[in-house]
Amino acid sequence: MTEDQIYAAIVEIISQTLDDKGLDVPEITPATEVLGDELGIDSLDLATLVSELEKKIGFDPFAKGFIEFKTVGELTKLYVR
């Protein structure tokens, strides 16, 4: 997967998560903070996001321990190989 495809996948999953929770889906950019106030994402949602991404992309960058990140763009980079 290219970086663009990974980014698109992350945006899609976040949008689906927010929609599932009955929340509005705001515009998401690479600078959007994943756990920031802008999105209503909590740690359980983040756990879900990571597990969905592993399914989609086929690997888990957190397999050896959690890596800190803030924005959607930073999260995307973790999946680029």
Binding site: L44, L46, A47, T48, V50, S51, F62
Partner: protein, 430 residues
């Protein structure tokens, strides 16, 4: 008088139906006579039967009972090397699996017991001993109502498991017919149920959910439906009641170690909280640290290997089943080893499964933990929908219902729609 299987030579009452073949009580008695003589002649004190053929299991029980030998009943799913280890450890001199496999071994003194095994899916199976008499007494106590006499029991449980043996002995004791399919598939069970006009079907809730998908209730004339082997959930009990409004529905709690502990007939999941004070049939029940503990008159008569349900110092048996007192009912939440730990919060799969099963179009659900780097685990669910049901609508309905009723950490985060859910040989969800 000592109680035995009481098979009379020449009796042409059918005892076992296998596919479309019938075996009479006399047939099985004649075979047991030969086997008993051979066991005595060879001086063998311990026999192991490993077969799903109920006629052979009856033959082995009767032969060993009259020869005074111990009988080990092994699942066909136990691997050969483990069978060898069990034979060596316990001094077994004869293995029955369709032929007579005599072994030379150091003789172990026998006391005429029947030893049954746990599934042993994760290691050596655990072995628990019972006397035939106590097993028969339990089977006798379990049947009190007249229509049960001469009933025709469909054996859906593993023929070698505790529940399977219990159903088999019940049929034998009451002059009934034990109906077994040629193929242990849901279609096979339905076919023999109709062919032999089965009146009693006992199965796991997982079995029943599948059976309801295949069976046309008008084609069956059932007097008794029993659920056992797993905790019965309300949606499944309701579904059975709807399909078979005139049939008595019972759910039971039993285990290899303790035997049948209780039977509930009111169509509600769990058992009445009043039973914590005083339960039927001399059984005592209590909740300790969230777990169900039990005391029964027909408790196992000793282990040959490490106990899966340890006996406490005060004589109570600790189960691995977590229960919850909810008003006037005690509900079973599920087994401790199935508990999912989501970021430190405990999730019991059973109530989540029950909630999913309640939604339109859902016929089966399995809830389990999925490893996760953020929270340790997440709740995941595999769901089977009715043919033609819309996945998108079902997904929305399931998630909405779960969000309304459950804390956020219990809500399935991964919902997979699948064609079928794997079940074990004992018809339990894995």
């Amino acid at each position: 008088m000592r109680m035995g299987l009481d098979l009379t030579p020449g009796d042409d009452t059918p005892l076992v139906a296998r596919g479309e073949a019938l075996f009479t009580r006399g047939d099985i008695r004649a075979r047991a006579d030969d086997l008993s003589a051979a066991i005595t002649e060879r001086g063998v004190s311990r026999v192991l039967v490993r077969s799903d053929d109920s006629a052979l299991i009856f033959e082995a029980i009767d032969a060993c009972d009259r020869a005074g030998a111990d009988l080990f009943i092994a699942h066909t799913t136990i691997a050969q090397d483990r069978i060898e280890a069990i034979c060596a450890e316990h001094g077994i001199g004869l293995v029955l699996n369709g032929e007579l496999d005599w072994r030379s071994t150091t003789q172990t003194p026998a006391d005429g017991r029947i030893y049954m095994m746990t599934s042993g899916t994760t290691g050596m199976p655990k072995v628990a001993g019972h006397s035939l008499e106590s097993l028969l007494a339990k089977a006798k106590a379990g049947v009190k109502r007249r229509p049960d006499q001469g009933g025709r029991w469909v054996l859906t449980y593993q023929p070698t498991g505790f529940a399977g043996i219990q159903v088999s002995l019940t049929a034998a004791l009451w002059g009934g017919l034990l109906i077994t399919p040629a193929e242990r598939t849901i279609g096979g069970f339905y076919h023999v149920s109709r062919h032999w006009n089965g009146t009693h079907i006992s199965g796991t809730p997982t079995f029943w959910r599948s059976f309801l998908m295949v069976a046309d209730p008008t084609q069956l004339s059932l007097a008794q439906i029993t659920l056992g082997g797993e905790a019965a959930d309300q949606p499944t009990l309701d579904r059975i009641r709807k399909a078979f409004p005139d049939t008595r529905v019972t759910h039971t709690y039993a285990s290899t170690e303790a035997g049948v502990v209780y039977a509930v007939h009111d169509g509600l999941e769990g058992f009445p909280a009043a039973w914590l004070e005083s339960a039927p049939s001399g059984v005592a029940l209590r909740i300790k640290d969230g777990f169900l503990q039990i005391k029964t008159p027909n408790m196992m008569s000793g282990y040959l290997s490490a106990a899966s349900q340890p006996l406490q110092d005060d004589g109570w048996l600790a189960t691995a089943d977590l229960v919850e007192l909810a008003g006037d009912r005690v509900k079973v939440l599920g087994r401790d080893d199935n508990t999912i730990n989501v970021g430190g919060s405990k999730v019991y799969p059973l109530p989540v499964e029950a909630l999913i099963l309640k939604q339109d179009g859902v016929i089966e659900a399995r809830v389990y933990g999925q490893p996760n780097p953020v929270t340790g685990a997440l709740v995941a669910a595999d769901v089977v929908l009715e043919a033609g049901a819309d996945e998108k609508t079902a997904r929305k309905a399931i998630l909405t219902a779960c969000r309304e009723a459950l804390p956020a950490y219990s809500v399935p985060r991964s919902l997979n729609f699948v064609d079928k859910i794997a079940v074990s040989a004992a018809n339990k969800k894995g």
